[in-house]
């Protein structure tokens, strides 16, 4: 069975600090606070549809994915297919990153390797829908070279991040 996550007061403390930050900045600069709040609302509007999709995927994953399955495809012994899966999952993932933290934390609880989490987060830099815009601004050669480096370095990023993390016994 996966280890249950300890639900402490961290989340509430974080919320409190954010609200306090908003309150203080409102006293210092109401205009800047209004801009920040408008930015927050825009991000939330973008995030909610994706969060809905992520929650649906989590529901399906909870039904279908057992810790044994996650460990087989994204665990310590996943090998090359784990790297490939995490790179492509990152490339094709959509929406704000906040929504994906929850999904990745859940998968990690089920046995997803730390390296694959970092690889997923790095390979998100390759955005398929935005490639035409990148080609328009920088050219096809630049886009191909940069995307290839991003894919290779997403694996290096995953490897290095995992190496720095303390080993669990």
């Amino acid at each position: 069975m996966p280890k249950q996550r300890h639900s402490g007061l961290g989340g509430w403390l974080f919320l409190g600090i954010v609200l306090l930050g908003y309150g203080l900045s409102f006293l210092l600069s109401p205009e800047a606070t209004a801009d920040a709040f408008a930015f927050f609302r825009r991000v939330m509007r973008q995030m909610f549809p994706v969060l809905g999709l992520v929650l649906l995927l989590l529901f399906i994953a909870n039904l279908l994915l057992t810790p044994a399955t996650v460990k087989r495809y994204l665990g310590k012994k996943a090998g090359a297919k784990g790297w490939i899966a995490s790179v492509f999952a990152g490339i094709f993932s959509m929406g704000p990153i906040y929504a994906w933290y929850t999904a990745l934390a859940e998968l990690q609880q089920k046995g997803m390797r730390t390296a694959f989490v970092a690889t997923f987060l790095y390979s998100r830099a390759v955005k398929i829908p935005l490639l035409p815009l990148m080609i328009y601004y920088f050219g096809l050669s630049y886009t191909i070279v940069l995307c290839l480096y991003l894919i290779v370095f997403s694996v290096i990023n995953g490897f290095l991040t995992e190496r720095l993390m303390p080993h669990k016994t």
């Binding site: 961290g10 989340g11 974080f14 930015f39 973008q46 990153i97 906040y98 933290y101 929850t102 990745l104 934390a105 990690q108 730390t114 989490v117 970092a118 987060l121 790095y122 998100r124 830099a125 955005k127 935005l130 815009l133 990148m134 601004y137 920088f138 050219g139 050669s141 630049y142 070279v145 940069l146 480096y149 991003l150 370095f153 290096i156 990023n157 290095l160 991040t161 720095l164 993390m165 303390p166």
Partner: protein, 111 residues
């Protein structure tokens, strides 16, 4: 912050060598937040404003791979140590990617 860039460029913030430019570009991308679409628009503006491709590439990469603004959320969900290490490594790798990308294009005669 973003509307300030043209003034900063004219003040000579960039153009002090490949590595300092890459570090500065990566730093700007790390603290920038917003839709990825915005990074291309800003990058295009920076390029046309005379900023080098290395700095712009470093900014493009860190815009998505490093998230100082998102760091508290990442730390909360995936662990502080993981978030700090991952962002630090991503920052360093972005500088290497920026240099490699431009040097590769120059080597191939495409830049």
């Amino acid at each position: 912050m973003l509307p300030c860039f043209p003034e900063e460029i004219s003040a000579g913030l960039f153009g002090h060598g490949d590595i300092p430019d890459a570090v500065l570009g990566a730093a700007i991308g790390s603290i920038a937040a917003g839709h990825p679409l915005a990074r291309y628009l800003l990058s295009g503006e920076l390029l046309s404003g005379g900023v080098g491709l290395i700095a712009v590439t470093a900014m493009l990469v860190t815009w998505v791979t490093v998230g100082i603004v998102q760091l508290p959320a990442e730390a909360l969900m995936l662990g502080t140590r993981f978030a700090v290490y991952r962002n630090f490594i991503s920052f360093c790798l972005a500088i290497i990617i920026a240099l490699l990308t431009v040097y590769t294009l120059q080597l191939l005669g495409l830049a």
